[in-house]
Amino acid sequence: MTWLPVRLARAALTMWLVVTFVFVVLRLTGDPAAILLPDDIDAQTLAFYREKWGLADPLWQQYLKYWAGLLHGDFGISFRNDMDAFALVWERVPKTALLGGTALGIALFIGIPAGILAAIWKDSWIDRTIMTSAVFGFSMPNFFLGILLILAFSLRLRWLPSSGSGTWAHLVLPAITLGTGFAAQIARYSRSSMIEVLSRAYMRTASSKGTGPVRRVALHAIPNAAVPVVTVLGIQVGQLLGWAVVTETVFAWPGIGRLLTHSVALRDLAVVQCIMILLALTMVTSNMIVDILYGWLDPRVRVGAGTAQK
């Protein structure tokens, strides 16, 4: 069983690269103290803050100190309000998880059945309708769709709130905005995967047993078609998080995405780094979950699955 250690080592390497990259790039793009503090501040105060935030040391010392902190679970202090950066970020996690989770749910609930239906009735009007909508949902920029929805459902019809996160009603528009593009992508992947599977010889074998259409699709086609879709899903979760930043900004949803845009603008280094590490960790975890699922779905790659003969 060499699989798990290798995967863990690779995950650790990924995390190290992310931390290093974010750390260096953020410091190359300008002095946080100069940006965060008022323009007319005297040199002495500036020096005081630079000393306090550890920005006066050489870069490599800052880097080592940061790692020393990280290994003790200390993500540093927010420059903006002196709070623990991790606590500041963690407070926002449930909101983003709620939005992302709902959007993912919507995307799966719509995207997978749509893709399957389109594949089964390939080249028919059903297929064309679904695929046209998918191209539409796929190419519509997130912020634009968000603004359209706000115009229609908040300003005109006054059915749903346009910003904030107080009630379930607040969740509807951002979740739809975030889920639409994702649903379109999933529909496209599900369709092509399903078309591929439906043309396979084993599907003809299934028919030759006299399986009905529902059994054919549910028990013979979908378990095979799911394999590549799940793989893509793992990668797409990262994209979903990226889109979440935009969506949260449009709907003033108080999640990690909005915190990230604010913190980047203010060069609140500790917060930005903390968010990036959490995002990278989410990605690494979701990819590992996909790998495990993949082995569970496809016996050919299952760990220790006997001797493969071709």
Partner: protein, 317 residues
Amino acid sequence: MVLTVENLEITIDRPGRAPVRPVRDVSLSVAPGETLALVGESGCGKSMTCLALAGLLPRRGRISAGAVQLEGTDLARLPARQARQLRRKSVASVFQDATGGLNPVRTVGWQIAEALRLRKGLTRLEARAEAIRLMGMVGLPDPERRAREFPHQFSGGMNQRAMIALAVAGNPRLLIADEATTALDVTLQAQILDLIGELRDRLGMAVLFVTHDLGVVAQTADKVAVMYAGRVVEANNVRALFAAPRHPYTRGLMSALPRPDADEERLATIAGHVPPIDKLPSGCAFAPRCAEAHAICTSAAPAFTGSAACHNLAAGA
């Protein structure tokens, strides 16, 4: 007769283009315990005929004329649902690519058991026990354990045995074996042919054996139908056909066989190519490649007289 096919015609509709008829006026019959070999080159319509009989035609394909009598019931005239039910009980197929023909994410045992549950309505447990018995019957070693394995854990020959077990599950009346041994090496091929023959005798099935290999025909079949460009050009029992092939195409196929007793350097070939199914010549489809063709051959399709469809034979008879 288990199966009687009369004047079968298959039409494939093509969007925006004229439909094609890859099978025209094909008549066949097979009795219980009998093997009929359907012989011909790629694209002659033999596989399409099988797919039509098994109800597995592609979506745009349909039986456009003729009758497919399965133990006296005409499948071509039955509503789709009833035809499927009848086929499920009585017709089974084995195809060339057994490894690709088995579902990679289901165990072999599950796939055979599913056939039993669908065809005979067995419960999960009964089907499982019966699947293991069938796997033993087709010569798979250690069936109890092998039933829990996946197709990728089997060799090609074992998968073909599993496919045969799957096909004979529920005692079908007709077994269609479409190039079932073509992909296998010679020793395996002989084993699988023996297995099919043994099961045919034991279960009293009729076997429709599709192949382009005349050696396999001589080994296994009782009767032969030779197809060319969607039609049966010659049909006879095996001995008669091999002793005295009548149609020029059949004679061409025979002379293209390698003979251990002759020391010619090159094998004989039939000049020209099989015409594409949407560009068939008028008259006899074989006429452009036929050394004995006359004026009438290019103007009218020959009728089936005796055991072959050829103008020359009709004139002589």
